[in-house]
Amino acid sequence: YQTFTGDLKWDHHDVTYRILNYSPDMEESLIDDAFARAFKVWSDVTPLTFTRLYDGTADIMISFGRADHGDPYPFDGKDGLLAHAYPPGEGVQGDAHFDDDEYWTLGTGPVVKTRYGNAEGALCHFPFVFEGKSYSSCTSEGRTDNLPWCATTADYDNDKKYGFCPSELLYTFGGNANGAECVFPFIFLGETYNGCTTEGRNDGYRWCATTNDFDMDKKYGFCPSRDTAVIGGNSEGEPCSFPFVFLGKKYYSCTSEGRGDGKLWCATTNDYDQDKKWGFCPDRGYSLFLVAAHEFGHALGLDHSNIQDALMFPMYSYVEKFSLHKDDIEGIQYLYGPKPGPNPTPPQSTPDPSKQPDTPATTAPTTTTPAPIDPSKDACKVDKFDTITEIDGDLHFFKDGQYWRMSNKGLQGPFFLSERWPALPAVVDAAFQDQLNKKMYFFSGTRFWVYTGQSLLGPRGIDKLGLPKSVSRVEGVLHKGKDKVLLFSGENYWRLVVKDQMVDKMAVTNVVFGGVPSDVTDVFLYKRNMYFVRERFYWRMNVNKQVDRVGYVKYDLLQC
């Protein structure tokens, strides 16, 4: 690893950041989440904390821009340079800039979050089948209003789950119109426009008026990119027009003809030869998370590494399961030191006293030998808990017949489930405490138990709560007011009226919590925040329904 000359670094550990604008390529919540996760890469291994500011000057100001974007280092169109960042300091120092001529995704192709429809904001599922035909992008087939839509499951014909795709006909972002949709035609400087335009701007962003007369109302917003929109070229944001004519020949799909770099392109009108309108076809895109994590490394004081697998290596490569390289950890810890708190200790065999030397050691030990730990009794060694829930104000972590309690005294346990709640099976999928009468509800498979102190009701089938027979288990629970809870299973949840022990008839819906994964394996409420858990990670949503933290269960909640 390398640091910048003079070991430039922040002189404080509570670093702030602010997102100044967004890319049209992804929904804002997905961009927020990518940045939050990228910061977490560094806060996991240092004493640094990162707080997001919504106005004013932050240490790290994050922005998207194209070509000349206000500093002496212009970007270069699609591919090539992806982003850059400045080492710590005042002014532009510490800031991170992302080239918006890139196609920003999570690294594996379009990430299309839907709005409206009946899928409650789920992501599009590509490909999906509609009327027997397979679609790999949003379509306006089947509609007369031209709105692009997609299915959020593989088979619309069976599941009928759909939502609308990003489109200027549905909403805008940024600007001053609170996200209102474009109004076409609109008038700008006396001219009439029937679509989004880059006229009047020098940054290449497409915009529209949200009333029919911009000259009079001055209301505008930026147009979100459609998933089928081309990137770069001279028609940014327009969809490909198939078939199109190029050098007299008809093309029915993207082509690399005419280019020496092998990049796929298409025309955005039906005749390239005549109109010369074109752009690059959408591809897998670049992972905003990975690029941001790299740039934030610069913003914290790391220069480029020459270790190819290190995050701070200058070239981009996509990795599915990211973990910070030893070289990056050593680099950042050289600047800021390690994260405070005990390190995880490997299990060790119990020393046999008979084999200990009976002569005293000649030098005093510099470290204390950790007490042997039985992995089955160490919560820090558990990769994934069966469920986590708050009981009497303390978090309880359940795993295979045991549970741990995290209180202000620290982590205690493991305790045996059978000692406190003897009727329960070893694996508990979900649990919650009724806030009114402190009864404990436990779910395992298709059964549930209710404990009032030591008296037991159950087990009973979860279908008795009004859950459909198709529900094979309840995976998580969120309190909704004092007398209702939401029971989560898969991507659905139901609202249970606790005193009636019955779910509302019409209250089944898909997960509508923005910014959290749809495939969470546990959900719980703790100190008024909602936690959505997937494997080792959690997404914390505050009372304003904003995801304000993404973290590790092990390090943050268990304080391992």
């Binding site: 340079l81 020496g260 770099d261």
Partner: protein, 89 residues
């Protein structure tokens, strides 16, 4: 076999990434990322001045240090990357 039968290259309007020769691309790359300082280059032929810079770049990128514009080096130069220079003056 994967090349089109009759390749034609056109200049696409608005294309920032123009067709450039390998030498031009390498020259720009070595300069942009700090391997070759501008003063060092003035008035000197590419081949002579850049060999050291190329080797420096090849070392940084984990490539064989040939000092030549070989295929792996050109591929590395075309690879998407961060805009922060690798070498500082």
């Amino acid at each position: 076999w994967c090349l089109p039968l009759s390749s034609v290259f056109v200049t696409f309007p608005g294309d920032i990434l123009k067709n450039v020769t390998d030498e031009e691309l390498a020259d720009r790359y070595l300069k942009r990322f700090g391997y070759m300082e501008e003063l060092q280059r003035s008035g000197i032929q590419f081949q002579g001045s850049s060999s050291k810079a190329l080797m420096k770049m090849q070392r940084q990128m984990g490539l064989e240090e040939t000092g030549l514009l070989d295929k792996p080096t050109m591929a590395a130069m075309k690879h998407p990357r961060c805009g922060v220079p690798d070498v500082r003056s």
